[in-house]
């Protein structure tokens, strides 16, 4: 069952080929057997999962079902889940049992899905390799020497390894798309405001957005439909109807105008990745799309702007972890200052501290205009690049990452790690949606290489279009059906 897509599993549940309990048990058994090496889960909630599965089976028997009833999935450990540890990958929240559910979690429950557990991640979603987790690194199912990407590395690895058919991730600068690319799965970052952020532990509030990670665009379409929508508890969520994202999946691509941003094919792009992407673009041409080069002239300012804005917001968002109301508290604090300084020094990992220091510094007196205000001005220019581009073309395409998954421990220098996100970060600054779909292997074949992700970008709220384009690509190719050796073990 583990090699089936979520859509196929939903069909199997509907036809009665298996029950949700059977499905849930099968995936739980697989997690039990295989996740020891992968480390993709922080918490597996087997008991609750079976309760939810039984509830889904009962609902099905009562005829009270939706398209996702009884489907198992996993949640990045950044989504608050009532009664379940919600750690954000941090020692700071190692003891935090969330007292409420995130809106996304409520919606998934209302849709009848079954949560198998909480997936590993870079601490507070800060990272591009999942090496910044208090719970240890996650291995890439395609190659245990490689990172799965980050920050939603656990979600990506779990799906790629067939431990779960789909998982929820969050994406602040590429944290869904880059691990999806590294692990050879499909991951969608929706338009900012499309999915409620309520109950998702904040990293950088003006950039964070949750989205689905699964095998196929079709799976993502089902999941996005379940989690999208206006939420009165999130002021930045958008009051806008949620279309049926599966409706347009089959629309032919003849006449589709594709733009290739020339800045996404420049220096630093791994030639093997480039050739996979160029091959993928040819597939679209064969489907009747036209392709032209586009310029996004401010692309190279995206990383600098991001590393001002995101750490600044993070430095403030993470101030609530003070050892008073929840989370880690140092032992026997001498006084209030000691309580703060030691609790936070012990609770946060190195990358989180680095970004807190960075954000605190750039917001402080005398620096605000030069850094924060400047970065926000640049942010406008970056967004304008995309708005201009979408006047010319329907979608933009390029690599999700300049390289395939790198080796664990290979990126020691923070700046070189940050540069990894060169093709994903601007999308968050602009707030537009982006999807990464499997588009081959750097090296040509699975045995010889690591997965490559094709990133497809659309205008604000063009998710249906992106899913359509991605789905058509997946009808014409089979990269998304490839499985790592690990996952091909049978139960």
């Amino acid at each position: 069952m583990h090699d089936k897509t979520l859509t196929e599993l939903a069909a199997g549940l509907a036809s009665g080929a298996f029950s949700s309990r059977e499905l849930t048990q099968a995936f739980l058994a697989r997690i039990d057997r295989l996740d020891g090496d992968l480390n993709s889960f922080i918490s597996v909630t087997a008991e609750q999962a079976l309760v939810e599965a039984d509830r889904a089976d009962a609902a099905r028997a009562a005829g009270n079902i939706g398209p996702l009833t009884g489907v198992p999935l996993a949640l990045k450990d950044l989504f608050c889940t009532e009664g379940v540890k919600t750690s954000a990958g941090s020692r700071m929240l190692d003891n935090f049992i969330a007292p409420y559910d995130a809106t996304v979690v409520e919606k998934l429950r209302a849709a009848g899905t079954v949560s198998l557990g909480k997936t590993n991640m870079d601490e507070f979603a800060m990272g591009s390799s999942n090496e910044n987790s208090f719970y240890g690194p996650v291995r890439n199912p395609w190659d245990p020497a490689a990172v799965p990407g980050g920050s939603s590395g656990g979600s990506a690895a779990a799906v790629a390894a067939g431990l779960v058919p789909a998982a929820m991730g969050t994406d602040t600068g590429g944290s869904i798309r880059q691990p999806a690319a590294f692990c050879g799965i499909t991951g969608l970052k929706p338009t900012y405001g499309r999915v409620s952020r309520y109950g998702i532990i904040a990293y950088a509030s003006s950039l964070d957005q949750a989205g689905p990670m699964a095998r196929t665009a079709e799976d993502c379409a089902h999941l996005l439909g379940a989690i999208a929508g206006h939420d009165l508890r999130d002021s930045t969520s958008v009051a806008r109807g949620v279309p049926d994202y599966t409706q347009e999946l089959d629309t032919p691509l003849a006449g589709l105008k594709i733009g290739l941003p020339k800045e996404y094919f420049g220096d630093g792009l791994d030639p093997a990745v480039e050739s996979a992407i160029r091959e993928a673009v040819k597939v679209f041409e064969s489907l009747g799309a036209t392709v032209r080069e586009i310029s996004l002239p401010h692309t190279h300012y995206a990383i600098p702007a991001y590393y001002v804005i995101a750490p600044a917001e993070a430095s403030s968002n993470l101030a609530r972890y003070d050892g008073v109301r929840f989370g880690h508290r140092c032992n026997a604090p001498e006084d209030l200052m000691d309580l703060y300084k030691r609790s936070r020094a012990e609770g946060f990992g190195e990358e989180v501290k680095r970004r807190i220091l960075m954000g605190t510094h750039t917001l402080s007196e005398g620096f605000f205009d030069a850094y924060y205000k400047k970065a926000q001005q640049v942010r406008r220019l970056i967004r304008q690049d995309f708005l201009d581009a979408f006047d010319e073309v329907d979608v933009l395409m390029g690599p999700a990452s300049p390289t395939p998954a790198f080796d664990l421990g290979a990126r020691k220098d923070p700046v070189s790690m940050y540069l990894q996100d060169i093709y994903t970060i601007a999308i968050n600054l602009a707030g537009i949606p982006g999807i990464s779909v499997p588009a081959g292997f750097a090296g040509g074949r699975p045995a010889e290489g690591r997965p490559v992700g094709l990133q497809i970008l659309g205008a604000h709220f063009a998710e249906a279009r992106l899913l359509n384009v991605a789905h058509q690509f997946q009808q014409a190719t089979d990269w998304h059906l490839r499985r790592p050796a690990l996952a091909e073990e049978t139960l």
Partner: protein, 95 residues
């Protein structure tokens, strides 16, 4: 803009992060390189460009003034490190 040791200590203090001396030196080095990368922003002319705080320039929705929350103190304090008589405890605050 060159970063100095004192800047790191100042930021650490403002952020209430306890740092050992060698850690501070390490972060000084890292932050220096990150800021050098960030300083590319200064090469761009942004004269007259309005700062963009949110990717979608929409406006704040307002909530009706109703009490919708009930007392969940015990529930919320289950994850608190130190509580007594319903109060969160901290080392004595000197006014």
């Amino acid at each position: 803009m060159a970063l100095e040791h004192a800047d790191v200590l100042r930021a650490a203090h403002l952020a209430r992060l306890g740092l050992e001396d060698d850690e501070a030196a390490h972060y000084l080095d890292d932050l220096g390189r990150i800021l050098a990368m960030v300083d590319q922003l200064q090469t761009l002319d942004t004269e007259g460009v309005a700062p963009l705080a949110h990717p979608l320039e929409t406006t704040q929705r307002l909530r009706v003034d109703e009490v919708t929350e009930t007392d969940q103190r015990d529930h919320f304090q289950r994850c608190a490190p130190a509580v007594e008589q319903g109060l969160y405890l901290v080392p004595r605050v000197v006014e």
